[in-house]
Amino acid sequence: MTQKTTRMTPWLFVVGILAVAGFAAHLAVLINGQKLFGSNDGVPWNILVAAYGFLASAAAGLSFFASLGDIAGIPALRRVAGPATLAALATLVPALVAIGSDLGRPLAAVGFLISPNFSSPMWWMAITYGAVLVLRAIKVWGMAAGKSQSMKWLSWPGLLLALAAPAVLGMLFSTLVARPMWFGTTTSLFVVVLALTLGAAATLATAVVAGARESFGFLSKCVAGLVVALAVVTFLKTSGSDPAYTALYLKGQYAPLFWGAQVALGMILPVAILLLPMGSTANGALLGAGSALVGGFGAWLVQVLAGQGLAVMPELAYKAYRVTSIEMTMVVGVFALVAVLYTLATRLVTAQNR
């Protein structure tokens, strides 16, 4: 056993325990139903949907950067294409766990195949993310089998799907006239730019974990540039909305999440860290990427929860949503599962290639 593997064992133990706790919470919901959730008819989508949005968009972003390395021949990206591919798969599977556990009847999801509705953005989202999952799984299999070189042609479909998936995810929100904060094309653009930002930050984090120091500089600039683009789109989204709705997250209940997480942690801090000399060190890069990722989760919480906060009809009384301990345990479990899967996948691929 190598020294690195020995060091990873306590880490795997800790995230494994958290993932098991999350699994127990999932089981409790399967047995008792969603009365354990804080969501209600006014706010039907809860923190698990926000976690899904975060993980699914990050997975698409990771796939984008993993594919871009091969297509554009950028050395800084090609060095981390392998870890980014593993991370994409390790992120997407827990994303599906998160959204699956928010379904009232998960077993009926076979209806996506046998009773499709082609006018539903959710159906298209399932198809595009299904394709992303299959493609990443093939790539990981290729890495484990030592056939990465012969699978480079998959990079183009990988890149296109990585852009299409968050665009369709954004459409899921942007087509709902009933929710003014979501309605409009800016939401789709926002989700795509957020996905690329999260993908760049997650790729930078995997580069740090994989020890690909020579990729830090390029990826740090990518994260900083995309964060600036995200800030512009966020401004457009905010300024284009009805003041009654934006007030909810600019000054109301979700203001701490918007200003504290989405803006301070997700935008100001990463740009400040990654553009400074410390951004090219391992600790600085990890801190900057981590901050962008935490802020990105905050952005998804604002997007999902505040977006439902006010309906198009003021007659519909808004019911406050409070996250329950079961929901929180499930979300922690889902994030822990990302770490478990990434660690195990890395070990598997390393062992196969040895």
């Binding site: 139903g33 969603q34 009365k35 959730f37 969501s39 008819d41 006014g42 039907p44 989508w45 928010d102 379904l103 009232g104 009847r105 998960p106 009926a108 999801a109 209806g111 996506f112 009773s115 499709p116 509705n117 006018s119 539903s120 953005p121 959710m122 159906w123 399932a126 899921l172 087509t175 709902l176 006239v177 009933a178 929710r179 439902q308 309906a311 198009v312 009809m313 007659e315 519909l316 009384a317």
Partner: protein, 210 residues
């Protein structure tokens, strides 16, 4: 084929909630859930000018229903008579339709059906199927009654002031069509484009309710 719709006369609604209770018992609706809601719309003035106006809100059975468009597994669909119905066997409980409905007509069933937890109550209606836990439910315009040849919904039957009228919108001599024309009835928020089949006869007096 008829095209069913409802007219609600806001002048006649007394906010008694008889429609809400009739709907609950007719359709075997579990505790904490309502298919037919009567919302209280405040006038925004301080006491003593404060008033609330009742606004009964069943499912609007929209012709261009957002819920039908967004359901990923086609569980929500239009019947030939225009009623928006749900196939509970298909519903996955994703709640997308709840997020998409501009009228807040839908409700998620978090609870186990009472037949599973304590037996059937005295008011159990064997003509209405019990929904499984984890599906989205809503007003059906009492489609089980229509299928049995009746043309009166439970809420219409229970309303003591006759504030609700149900019938075929395409039949020009039907009471619902005649009164809708006479009172210049309007659906809620027509600009949203959903084409609701529930319309409201506006209040004659400026402010009503309690």
């Amino acid at each position: 084929m008829p095209r069913y719709g409802m007219l609600i006369d806001l002048d006649k609604c007394m906010f008694c909630q008889a429609c809400t209770m009739a709907c609950k018992s007719e359709n075997n609706i579990p505790d904490g859930m309502f298919w037919n809601k009567v919302r209280a719309v405040p006038n925004g003035k301080p006491y003593p000018e404060y008033r609330v106006t009742p606004l009964p809100m069943p499912c609007m059975h929209c012709e261009d229903a957002p819920c039908v468009n967004v359901c990923p597994v086609s569980a929500t669909y239009h019947r030939p008579d225009g009623i928006v119905a749900i196939d509970y066997d298909k519903c996955i409980g994703c709640k997308y339709c709840i997020a998409a409905c501009p009228y807040g007509a839908r409700t998620f069933n978090k609870t186990k059906a009472f037949v599973e937890v304590g037996g059937k109550p005295a008011w159990y209606n064997a003509n209405v199927p019990i929904r499984p836990q984890g599906v989205v439910e809503k007003c059906t315009f009492c489609s089980h009654r229509i299928d049995a040849g009746q043309t009166v919904t439970a809420c219409v039957q229970a309303c003591p002031s006759g504030a609700r009228i149900f019938g075929d919108l395409d039949e020009s001599n039907s009471p619902v069509a005649k009164l809708a024309a006479a009172r210049k009835a309007q659906p809620l928020r027509p600009e949203l484009g959903a084409k609701p089949k529930v319309s409201y006869a506006p209040m004659m007096k400026p402010e009503g309710g309690k």
